[in-house]
């Protein structure tokens, strides 16, 4: 396990990570060979050879391409079909996506290739009966007898996961409707994932994970992978938040490569809406994270560092005036980052009155030291100037 600061130092130094984790392998696929006999036209973007890299999804033993496909916002089934034809082996959807229409589209798009790929879906139901009903609906819509991975959808705390939900997961496995089960999570992974490991009944975790996140998330993921839990990464191209998009040429691919080259991550599920995104994302499997990739990502981190609060919680209780620093920075992000001044202000004003009236200028020296370089006194003072 790496130290919390080593990865960031490593990134900043522009060093190169291992190509892929142990047990990975490369396959070569000539995309031009995909044009079927009799067809006279093909997408020109598909006329280049692409290397596919494979990893094993933890103890499930499932072999997956290190780049999978998140189907959530894909509107045209041809993109899913082509991804399967090109050799992508991991496809992710959910019962709730597009109110069920997404599962139907994915099922139709995969068609006869269903059993050649690893297919995952998710349930938002919160009780045993509801989960069983959703599973049956998912199988029907996906036109399959089983899913490879069935997730509890979007959990952020162990308190959200009840025993009967775990029973429903296990029952689905016993019935052969789900080969493996897991949880998808967007937040609080540093608490949830260790709990999953300790619980011992989950095969896979689908977690938001990217180069700009709190190292505590990475530590949790590393521990999970070492215990044999399969790790699937999502939100891999986020760069802090919505307004901190990766805009530099090559940045999206670099961010994807950062995750596909991570030794604890088996596969990723970037969203893809068109053939060109598909081709671009496939490139992430073609080679290692380069020094240039590191530079691009390090530059982005450098750019967002003074502004971007990672909500790591390390400043909790550190303010001499007792201010909830992370909350205030979040409210400021609403105004500065998203143009939602009114929302930021109203949330600021909902704080305890002593916090609303506090002024950073009253302190000679700030007692809060952000480990990621957020300029806390300056940002807090701006929030007080804007909202108070």
């Amino acid at each position: 396990m790496k130290s919390k600061t080593s990865r960031r130092d490593f990134l900043s130094a522009g060093l190169i990570l291992p190509v892929v984790g142990a047990g990975s392998s490369l396959g070569l696929m000539n995309l031009s060979a995909q044009t079927p006999a009799g067809s006279t036209g093909s997408a020109r973007s598909a006329n280049s050879p692409v290397k596919l890299s494979y990893k094993t999804l933890g103890k499930t033993g499932l072999k997956v391409t290190s780049v999978g496909m998140g189907c959530m916002i894909t509107s045209d089934p041809s993109v899913v079909t082509r991804a399967a034809d090109l050799g992508i082996t991991y496809f992710d959807t959910a019962r709730g996506y597009q109110h069920g229409n997404n599962e139907r589209m994915v099922g139709a798009a995969l068609g006869g290739k269903r059993k050649q790929v690893v297919l995952s879906t998710k349930t938002e139901a919160r009780d045993k009966a509801g989960m069983a009903k959703e599973m049956d609906t998912s199988l029907s819509e996906l036109k399959t007898d089983f899913v490879d991975v069935w997730y509890l959808h979007g959990k952020s705390s162990p308190s959200e996961i009840h025993d009967d939900m775990i029973e429903a997961l296990q029952l689905a496995k016993q019935q052969g409707k789900a080969r493996f089960v897991g949880i998808s999570t967007h937040s609080n992974q540093q608490t949830l994932i260790p709990w999953m490991v300790q619980k011992g009944v989950f095969d896979v975790v689908l977690s938001a994970f990217n180069f700009s996140m709190d190292p505590a998330v990475e530590q949790a993921i590393d521990v999970a992978a070492k215990t044999g839990m399969g790790v699937v990464a999502m939100k891999v191209m986020a760069g802090g938040s919505r307004n901190q998009k990766l805009t530099q040429p090559g940045a999206l691919l670099a961010a994807l490569k950062w995750v596909t080259n991570h030794p604890s991550v088996a596969t990723t599920i970037p969203s893809m809406t068109d053939m060109d995104q598909l081709d671009e994302n496939l490139k992430a499997m073609a080679g290692p994270l380069t020094a240039d990739d590191h530079k691009i990502l390090a530059a982005h981190l450098e750019q967002i560092q003074p502004l971007y609060c990672r909500l790591c919680g390390k400043c909790d209780g550190a303010c001499a005036q007792g201010l909830p620093v992370a909350d205030v920075l979040r409210f400021l992000t609403y105004a500065d980052g998203y143009g939602e001044f009114a929302l930021g202000r109203e949330r600021y004003l909902q704080m305890a009155s002593e916090h609303v009236s506090a002024r950073c200028g009253d302190c000679v020296e700030c007692t809060v030291q952000c480990p990621y370089g957020v300029e806390v006194p300056k940002r807090m003072a701006r929030a007080q100037e804007l909202f108070a």
Binding site: Q34, T35, P36, S39, T40, G41, S42, A43, R44, S45, A46, G70, M72, I73, T74, S75, D76, S78, V79, T81, R82, A94, G96, Y97, Q98, H99, G100, N101, K122, E124, A129, G130, K133, H153, G154, S184, H186, S187, M234, S241, R242, S271, T273, D274, M275, D276, Q277, D327, T333, Y334, G337, Y338, E340, A342, L343, E346, R347, Q350
Partner: protein, 280 residues
């Protein structure tokens, strides 16, 4: 801290239009009472509520959402009102999320009411209502219909679907909506209307000018090996492609349109000609 009281939140509705409390109220549903304060979400924290499904809102120009929970005994009624970038986008997300096996009702620009859920779009607002009942077999259709009718009357904005949807030939049409990016999975066709038929699909993309439409058509043609001219609209090509089967794409003024997934390019061109004739 994510919970905000309704009265304190002016961002969802622009000045001069109906106020949120005029239509986001449990009082519109007799027998239901508000159980929590109204929750507000922006693009920043929609993941907290919709998990991965948030992307499906963001891609349609999501601006904000208010969520209201009402209670009646052990049952809960959740009303989510999303503000999208424009009326077309609101209709687009409605059309994407609706059940294509059921008809569209005349509620705002369009809506659907089912036994335990309802949705509709009006103006730039997209409304979703779900009943979580202790008895999952309970039928709530009538009260949901009454609720959406009251809400739709109070929400200001356009009441007709996007004009371009009427240009699609109606015979054998199964569904139609707005694709926010990459129509047919092609990045050149950035945002457009797509109609699904029992066989094949049609699309319409409105470019800013005839010149930009010319450029897009040229780029599209370069994408496909073996494309040949077709006599549709101002200019057109047809081709047999691996994933789109028989396809024909034409330009008429600043509008691009076409058919795909038909058995042959010739059939696609024939259907495309019918579509072109309906475009003003």
């Amino acid at each position: 801290m994510r919970i905000v009281h309704l009265a304190l939140v002016p961002f969802l509705l622009a000045a001069g239009t109906a106020r949120a409390q005029d239509f986001l109220s449990c009082q519109l549903a007799p027998g239901w009472t508000q159980s929590e304060v109204v929750h507000s979400y922006t693009a920043d924290n929609l993941y907290d509520y919709k998990d991965g499904g948030a992307e499906g809102y963001l891609i349609y120009g999501f601006a904000g959402m208010k969520s209201l929970n009402c209670k009646s005994g052990d049952d809960t009624l959740t009303i989510d009102v999303s503000e999208m970038s424009d009326a077309d986008a609101a209709y687009g997300i409605f059309a994407t999320n609706r059940d294509p096996r059921l008809p569209i009702a005349r509620i705002g620009m369009g809506g659907q009411v089912q036994p335990q859920s309802a949705s509709f779009a009006k103006g730039k607002y997209y409304v979703e209502i779900v009943v979580n009942s202790a008895n999952p077999n309970m039928i709530h259709t009538a009260e949901l219909q009454a609720l959406v009718d009251k809400m739709a009357r109070r929400i200001e904005g356009r009441e007709t679907p996007p004009e371009a949807l009427a240009w699609f030939p109606q015979e054998n049409l199964t569904s139609a909506g707005l694709v926010p990016e990459s129509v047919l999975g092609l990045k050149e066709l950035k945002r457009g209307y797509v109609a699904k038929y029992k066989l094949g699909q049609a699309f319409i993309v409105l470019e800013d000018s005839p010149e930009s439409a010319v450029a897009v058509l040229k780029n599209l043609r370069a994408r496909f090996d073996g494309a040949t001219d077709a006599k549709v609209g101002g200019e057109a090509f047809q081709v047999k492609a691996q994933y789109l089967d028989g396809i024909c794409i034409f330009r008429k003024g600043r509008t691009l349109g076409g058919y795909a997934n038909l058995p042959t390019p010739q059939e696609a061109a024939a259907q495309a000609a019918k579509l072109a004739a309906r475009i003003p």
